[in-house]
């Protein structure tokens, strides 16, 4: 358990070093982390809510095209 915590701490340290946040003051670090966390949260939310629906619609559209042309597109639109 301790090893797990150590490892996560080390990963956070790597993140600080790679993005360059390591040199900034604590309040600047918080701003950057907040902004990044918000953006990542929004990306996760969007992908969770919208991606399955869009994928399903796209698959239906293309499979409809492959089978027979006009009636399936009309069916989808209505």
């Amino acid at each position: 358990m301790k090893a797990m915590r150590e490892y996560v701490c080390w990963l956070y340290y790597q993140y600080l070093l790679i993005t360059g946040i390591y040199v900034l003051e604590p309040w600047e670090k918080s701003i950057f982390n907040t902004v990044l966390f918000t953006v990542v949260a929004m990306v996760v939310y969007t992908s969770y809510v919208f991606v399955p629906i869009h994928v399903r619609l796209a698959l239906e559209f293309f499979s409809g095209l492959a089978q027979g042309h006009p009636e399936s597109t009309v069916a989808l639109m209505s």
Binding site: W10, Y13, Q14, L16, L17, I18, T19, G20, I21, Y22, V23, L24, E25, E28, F32
Partner: protein
């Protein structure tokens, strides 16, 4: 340049340039073409590699292995990302400072002066304000003992993020010193050098209170100049009180308008300053690249001065012995061959290489086994290997007599202090073996042993190291801006003092930590340092190298032939 002659050369046919003193004109083949063609890119088969290397290897009496491993792409991208984020925060902080939300610690003009042309360049200091200041605690650390193999550092504390420092009163003792230019270990406060220097101080005092021209010319200076001339193998020499001033004040005395200076890309600031002050035309060739230098020479001689096409009054090639930021050694045999062919003059700045290279410690000329009279102007400093301060210029007697009256440094600058002069005399005699002991020779061999060991170990550990195998300056690549600060601090926590360098001394993504190996380091100290470096390397993920396979016997020769990585 015909096909069959290239292939003749590549097939190891008569290697014309084994003896550099032979005139290249004796062989008609060489006269009609460039001395050094661009090496043909045939690296796949080792047979070809063999012959490609012997093309220029005829001038060298031992293998010249120099490598500058390429930056891994992912690391380069992440470094740019890091700099981008820091730039955004830099703009944010500047905005806050401008609109008075935050206290501004920098120099500002008074309110009344704001309508005039600004005194302080705000944008140029952007980098200094926003990155350098945040990691400033890695530089200017006060040392409170002699900077030998181990030193004592004053502990500093900061409450406002490095804008101001306070001394806590404690001292960090016995910090292993991997940053001082103490190549032969003469920076010590006991021993023959220190005793001789203090005796001299008792006799002559410390200050000279005059310039060389007036009443500042001591008999010690004359003695030193004769000794330096004997040490280097030249006719005569002259010493100055400051190494930087030697370069920047003497190059203007040697060249002027209508002369051409060909200087290496990575020359030191003193050489660049001297070249600019002289008013000559300056052309820059790629670092250690003989084809680039040759092309510039040919263009200069063929086309002459820019508009009038008159021939140049003189052409001066300015190079350094060891480049301290890269750890690379100049390809001196090739430069001398070029200089002789095109009748140019050579100015060699041996600041880091004098005393540190060569079997007898006489610098890069000794390292390659060449004749010192081939180099027209040999310049060097006493700061690095001799544990003193100051610079010298060595060459023919006419040159030195001319410089005596025409150089600004000789005429106006205060002459060298007597104890320092004595320190140089004693240490130089020690290196030459004239003090009756073998201490000099021991130190020289200890230095080269330490260098080889340290470089090999770092390479095996998997770090990217730049430079020549024999150079005691070892740059270790860090790349990312945050790692510059982190490396310096982590090493200090483990009681090792290092020097980290970033922009503008290096290209923006190639920041590095620079180690200077010294003869005063024992094997145990180097092992401690190496363990700490390895630990910090794992902690910070610095082991970027992709060729870090442990070397076995048969791969050793292959790596020597891997010249596609050298400059």
């Amino acid at each position: 340049m015909t096909r069959n002659s290239t292939s003749k050369l590549l097939n190891g046919d008569t290697c014309h340039r084994t003896n550099p003193s032979k005139t290249p004109g004796a062989n008609g083949f060489v006269m009609s073409h460039c001395l050094f063609q661009k090496p043909q890119k045939r690296y796949r088969r080792s047979a070809e590699k063999n012959h490609h290397v012997s093309n220029n290897q005829g001038l060298y009496n031992k293998p010249f292995v120099q490598s500058f491993e390429e930056t891994p792409l992912l690391v380069a991208v992440l470094t740019y990302v890091g700099y981008g984020i820091l730039t955004i925060f830099g703009y944010l902080r500047d905005f806050l400072r401008d609109w008075k939300f935050q206290k501004c610690h920098l120099a500002r003009e008074r309110e009344e002066q704001k309508d005039f042309v600004p005194l302080y360049q705000d944008f140029e200091n952007f980098y200094t304000r926003n990155l350098y200041m945040r990691i400033r605690d890695n530089w200017n650390r006060p040392i409170c003992s002699v900077p030998g193999a181990k030193m004592d550092l004053v502990e500093r504390d900061t409450h406002d993020y490095n804008w101001s420092f306070e001394h806590t009163g404690r001292v960090l003792k016995d910090v292993i010193n991997m940053g001082s230019y103490n190549y032969l270990g003469f920076a010590e406060n006991s021993g023959a050098c220190a005793d001789a220097a203090s005796e001299c101080c008792m006799k002559y005092g410390v200050g000279v209170s005059s310039t060389r021209r007036e009443t500042g010319n001591l008999d010690k200076h004359e003695e030193l100049e004769k000794l330096v001339a004997r040490f280097l193998g030249v006719e005569s020499s002259m010493v100055f009180g400051m190494g930087f001033a030697t370069n920047s004040m003497n190059i203007p005395a040697l060249t002027g308008r209508g002369c051409l200076i060909l200087s290496d890309e990575l020359n030191h600031a003193s050489l660049v300053l001297g070249a600019r002050l002289s008013g000559s035309t300056i052309r820059v060739f790629k670092h250690n690249n003989m084809q680039s230098l040759e092309k510039l020479l040919r263009d200069a001689i063929a086309h002459g001065q820019p508009r009038t096409h008159r021939p140049w009054k003189k052409i001066l090639i300015v190079v350094e012995g060891i480049y301290s930021m890269e750890g690379s050694i100049i390809r001196l045999p090739e430069v001398i061959a070029l200089k002789k062919k095109y009748k140019a003059y050579l100015y060699l700045d041996e600041a880091h290489s004098i005393g540190a290279l060569g079997p007898r410690g006489r610098g890069v000329v000794d390292f390659f086994g060449l004749d010192p009279t081939d180099v027209d102007i040999m310049m060097g400093t006493f700061t690095k290997s001799f544990g003193a301060a100051g610079g010298y210029i060595g060459g023919k007697k006419e040159l030195i007599d001319y410089l005596c009256s025409h150089s600004h440094s000789a005429v106006y600058a205060t002459s060298m202090s007597p104890p320092i002069t004595q320190q140089i005399i004693t240490s130089m005699k020690c290196i030459m073996g004239e003090d009756g002991t073998t201490l000099g020779q021991e130190r020289l061999s200890q230095l080269s042993e330490n260098t080889t060991y340290f470089r090999r170990k770092l390479h095996e550990l998997g770090f990217i190291i730049y430079g020549n195998k024999d150079s005691p300056v070892v740059p270790l690549m860090l790349y990312m801006p945050a790692k510059i600060g982190a490396f310096g601090r982590e090493m200090l926590k483990r009681n090792i003092g290092t020097v980290v360098v970033g922009f503008p001394a290096t290209p923006i993504i190639e920041s590095r930590a620079r180690f200077c190996v010294s003869a005063a380091h024992t094997r145990k100290m180097l092992d401690t340092a190496l363990n700490a470096i390895s630990e910090v390397g794992d902690l910070l993920q610095l082991k970027y190298s992709r060729n870090n396979r442990p070397r076995s016997e048969d791969t050793d020769s292959y790596s020597y032939l891997e010249s596609h990585q050298e400059h």
